[in-house]
Symmetry: C2
């Protein structure tokens, strides 16, 4: 289980299939985010229709509300959110380091205050493994320290060391939990490679993470946290030769359409990001024809084209920009749903198209053309 | 067109079919409200799936945004909102009298300020006919004066007189518009009977409205504006013998589940109300098993029943109360959609069930049992 078949490569770009207990995932893949056990605005059936293969949920949020024990009682994450396909939970690390206001970090773990009621909680590598085991996603992420973007080298180095110690504790505790309850869900623990924008720290961390266990999936964290785009791309280029070819690589929290193509071209297989649905709530849509557009713009008032001509999503097949512009301007919830569906489909389709091009050996040229057109269309 | 076949009656209750240019409507019928040209949270396909036959839109809102001329340019109301079935627009009268903050009424019409930008506008019977003609709904409502609930007799009397004068102006202007553009949409103008809770004023107004034109549909306005429920039921009982049997009667802005059954039992055929979707945004759901419930309640935290066992809506067939409770508590938009679908289906189904019982001659007993159970379950 969690084997990865690599079907084709083109340069660093890869097309493969990840096998999970809830079915295969064809990569490259974009995974919609269901923070609280629901992808905002979008139903499970609509996710299937738009081609989503695998869905994310957030450990921090589900731990606080409704509580991981309750999710288990209700049948586990898949049954809870009525999603039959593969799932992944993050470790909550990113949230407690970035979202939670007041927190105290020590070697044991992190104490933080709930953003809901201010109550105090503590995450440790062990407790996070227990929570993620109970939630029951297919892929569970190790509890890591993700220092803020712009951190200095010493901070990044210290975080790398702590992340390694925590990874070991995650591995041990996860192993115990599986041994204690072998009939529980079949899961795999995935480590997170940190190191900020420091090439040597990234390289060293990757090597030490790899030697710390037999991981089925490797995640790259601590990017898209405010650093310049060239830094992100350079780090991926540094990591590519370090990572085993027969394991999928997951770039956490990325991204926007252009980020997907740039990262796929540098060997990334899996993505997640809330931008698709969050932008939708502001009326921002991604289009091949016009780049990123805000549907509120007056120029769409009489525009009877779909959001993106050529898109095959429910919104584009059924509604026009003029109607959406009206709904967005009026703050109608139905608009958020339609634009969410479109933006999610846009990323899912981009990953599908990338895969097809890699299989045909045509990705590099296509991707360069696509990016050039997308970036110039956006102006 | 707009003929009404009366299939069966039981006491005052009626089962019929209204024929419109966009298909037949089986009555009694509950019409979901698409204020801005979209039923909040719900797609046209979902409306079809939940059994909605006819949909409302609001003239006041569409006039202000995106503007009736733009709706026409985009193909008219049906095409604009992608709703192929019958439609109805209100006259905007209720909104300018109740929603708009600053307004000045005279015999010519009403001057009011937009709730969006404070700009000044004027509605007259003639301008409202022009707007509703341009929007292109099947059934268009006459511009009436709806005095606030609790108005005294003199106010109600004065409003009745003005409503009659305005009705005549509506009739004349609508006739001109049809004559000027005979190839335009096939529409029918429906008058509104006012008179507040004064039985003799209601009776007199009904008679004078009926003699003012050959109306295909008769609406009862000015109820559910704060008066006691027994007053509403008594007014309907006063009106029932006054109204021709072969025309459908539309009770504007009503209602809640119990209101539907009470009014159907007093001869009403058509309903609309925003409560289904507005309540949904607060997590309030209607159920046969438990009356009106708020899904946020802690007692639903571990409840794996659907919102309403026995309901056949998408939400009840696919999700449980525990999940919905979680989403409602967290303010997730997907919950608003699911509860909206459920509440709309609840009213649509209640109208369907009423029709079936009337056709079987069993409505009176069934309705009394239903109301008794619903009211006691709610406690």
């Amino acid at each position: 289980m969690f084997d990865f078949d690599l079907h084709a490569t083109e340069g660093a770009a890869r097309a493969g299939t990840l096998h999970t207990p809830h079915g295969p995932v064809q990569t490259p893949v974009f995974m919609p985010v269901g923070t609280l056990g629901a992808v905002k605005h979008v139903s499970p059936g609509e996710l299937v229709d738009l081609g989503a293969q695998m869905v994310l949920a957030n450990t921090y949020h589900l731990y606080l509300r409704p509580g991981h024990e309750l999710v288990r009682e209700l049948g586990g994450l898949h049954e809870f959110m009525r999603w039959e396909g593969p799932t992944l939970t993050d470790s909550g690390g990113f949230q407690v380091f970035s979202l939670a206001g007041i927190r105290r970090i020590d070697d044991d773990g992190v104490e933080f205050q709930s953003h809901i009621d201010g109550s105090t909680h503590r995450f440790t590598p062990e407790s996070v493994m227990e929570i993620e085991r109970i939630l029951g996603a297919d892929v569970i992420m190790a509890f890591d320290e993700c220092p803020p973007g712009g951190s200095d080298r010493a901070t990044a180095e210290k975080a790398n060391e702590r992340t390694l110690r925590w990874l070991d504790r995650c591995r041990v505790r996860f192993g115990q939990l599986v041994a204690e309850q072998p009939e529980g869900p079949v899961q795999t623990l995935a480590p997170v490679i940190q190191g900020n924008v420091f090439d040597d720290l990234r390289r060293e961390h990757a090597r030490r993470v790899l030697s710390a266990g037999d991981w089925k999936i490797l995640a790259v964290g601590g990017l898209s946290v405010g650093e310049a785009k060239p830094d992100m791309w350079r780090v991926l280029e540094v990591l590519d030769p370090e990572l085993p070819r027969d394991r999928p690589r997951y770039l956490m929290g990325v991204g926007y359409p252009e980020d997907l193509l740039e990262a796929i071209g540098r060997g990334i297989d899996m993505f997640d990001c809330v931008a698709a649905t969050r932008n939708a709530r502001h009326g921002t849509a991604w289009t091949f024809a016009n780049g990123q557009v805000n549907l509120k713009a007056r120029r769409f008032a009489r525009d009877t084209d779909p959001i993106d001509p050529g898109c095959d999503c429910y919104a584009c097949l059924n509604f026009d920009r003029a109607y959406l512009r009206h709904l967005v301007a009026a703050g109608e919830h139905f608009a958020h749903r339609l634009v969410s569906i479109h933006n999610l489909r846009f990323l899912v389709r981009l990953a599908e198209q990338s895969r097809a091009r890699i299989l045909e050996g045509d990705f590099t040229r296509w991707s360069a053309d696509w990016l050039e057109r997308y970036r110039s269309a956006g102006v």
